[in-house]
């Protein structure tokens, strides 16, 4: 994966993360520290506890490789001088999302929320927003797995109140 060209022999410290289903992931320290939840685990115990395994109760091992891949690449983008061309970042981001189903995207948002990683959360929520733009109410409900708990009357009333937002511009 990302460890392709570690030129010098300086050992990068690794931290072990444990996903919800018990699988272990060895992660380079700077990458792991992008996640506030992991970081907060070590605050005040800088050295002593680096060997500990950090349990991530809400993150399934299915999504860990993708999340780590995102951070390895983005932290590399940030470090590079001169900064990488916008197209390169865009291409990576697009490829990252390409084969993710809606459901996988939701699960990853939940994982990013739990891990408290701003960059990934921004990226994924924007992706979710893009997927529901210009879509019908029914589509959006299905997308998020929302159960409509309005009575038909209630729903009709809200629609009527904000009728303009559901139709095109009024005819005047």
């Amino acid at each position: 994966m990302a460890s392709s060209s570690s030129s010098s022999s300086t050992q990068v410290k690794k931290i072990t993360l444990k996903a919800a289903d018990g699988k272990h992931f060895e992660v380079e320290e700077p990458v792991a520290m992008e996640m506030e939840t992991v970081k907060s685990f070590f605050v005040g115990n800088e050295d002593a506890m680096k060997d500990m395994v950090v349990p991530l109760l809400n993150v399934s091992s299915e999504h860990m490789p993708a999340i780590l891949d995102f951070y390895r690449n983005h932290s590399e983008f940030r470090k590079r001088t001169p900064p990488p061309p916008a197209e390169e970042v865009k291409a990576f981001n697009e490829a990252f999302l390409e084969n993710k189903s809606d459901e996988q995207l939701m699960e990853m948002i939940m994982a990013a929320n739990f891990l408290n990683t701003k960059e990934l959360l921004n990226f994924l929520t924007e992706a979710a927003a893009n997927r529901i733009k210009n879509k019908s109410v029914e589509y959006v409900r299905a997308f998020f797995g929302i159960e409509n708990d309005f009575t038909p009357e209630e729903e009709a009333r809200i629609r009527a109140e904000n009728e303009w937002a559901f139709d095109g511009l009024d005819e005047d």
């Binding site: 929320n113 929520t125 927003a129 904000n162 303009w164």
Partner: protein, 313 residues
């Protein structure tokens, strides 16, 4: 599948247009509540959407049926904003951002409503306030003085309105960034704002056509930009910790500026009372020479001038 946590849903809403956010109100009860509690109000964009094809026109040139259409759309927009703000403020939540663009045909008739909206935003501890009041005649909307008491506001952007009735003590304790564009202000207000906002780091004053004197004294200020203030005659700036100074105007005589940082200067023709460019004369060049002598850190100098008489080699 589990539903997303509330926080992440609000996060998604950030990337939706204001109209799309309104559409989420109908998804479910949970989403309705999330929609009502979404703390970012971009009525700037909604206004353009409501007013549609009329938003880029000057109402002075409206034909009769356009005026009627404009009023009808403006009323709908106003009703929506009003209902939304009242509903939000009933929840006693903190407002992140309030951004409003509105065009007014009758400033006096509608100012009570805008006062009310601003009050609601302030009462909900708004952090970012961005008001743009398009004016078509000379009448300008005067902001309520309470705007100077917004202790939690950290960014204020104003366009097209008037600031007066400044209270003795202002309480903009969190204000970091202030942008004034086409705002009717005077020397006292600028002076007071810059000396009494303890955290103010960025100030931009542009196209404030009435201001004649600018006096600023601040140890905090890091970025200062003054541009297109056509009546400007005097500036007196004491900002020892400034990091960047931008000035774009006709050169004025004997500016007093203590700003040991890089400067970017754009010199333009003076503008007369009718809005016409005044041809360059000897005085203009003397003023410029004088101005350039004030700093030895001028990074950029641009002369964007027009002249019939002078040949610039």
């Amino acid at each position: 599948m589990d539903e997303l946590p509330d926080f992440t849903i609000h996060h998604i809403m950030i990337y939706l247009s204001a109209k799309e956010v309104v559409q989420t109100s109908v998804l479910s009860k949970k989403w309705f509540n999330l929609y009502v509690s979404f703390a970012i109000f971009d009525f700037h964009e909604l206004y353009k959407w409501f007013i549609g094809d009329l938003s880029n026109k000057n109402p002075a040139t409206f034909r009769k049926n356009e005026t009627i259409r404009f009023h009808k759309r403006l009323n709908r927009f106003t009703e929506f904003v009003d209902a939304f703000l009242v509903r939000f403020s009933n929840q006693k939540l903190c407002m992140q951002k309030f951004r409003l663009l509105i065009g007014l045909l009758d400033v006096e008739a509608s100012s009570f409503l805008h006062d009310k909206w601003i009050e609601l935003a302030l009462r909900n501890g708004v952090k970012e306030l961005d008001l743009n009041v398009q004016i078509y005649k000379n009448a300008m909307y005067t902001l309520p003085w309470t705007i100077f008491t917004a202790a939690s506001m950290n960014a204020l952007t104003l366009e097209g309105c008037k600031l007066e009735h400044i209270p003795e003590i202002i309480r903009l304790y969190s204000l970091k960034c202030l942008i004034l564009n086409k705002v009717a202000i005077n020397k006292e207000i600028v002076q007071k704002l810059t000396s009494q906002c303890p955290l103010l780091e960025g100030l931009k004053v542009s196209s404030c056509v009435l201001i004649v004197r600018i006096t600023i004294s601040s140890y905090r200020l890091k970025k200062l930009s003054i541009s297109s203030c056509i009546k400007l005659k005097e500036i007196e700036i004491d900002t020892p910790n400034l990091l960047y100074f931008y000035h774009s105007n006709h050169p004025i005589l004997t500016p007093i500026v203590n700003a040991p940082c890089p400067w970017e200067l754009h010199f333009k023709n003076a503008i007369d009372d009718l809005g016409n460019k005044v041809d360059l004369d000897a005085q203009w060049f003397l003023n410029m020479k004088d101005f350039l002598g004030v700093s030895n850190q001028i990074r950029f100098l641009v002369m964007d001038v027009w002249s019939k008489r002078v040949q610039i080699a």
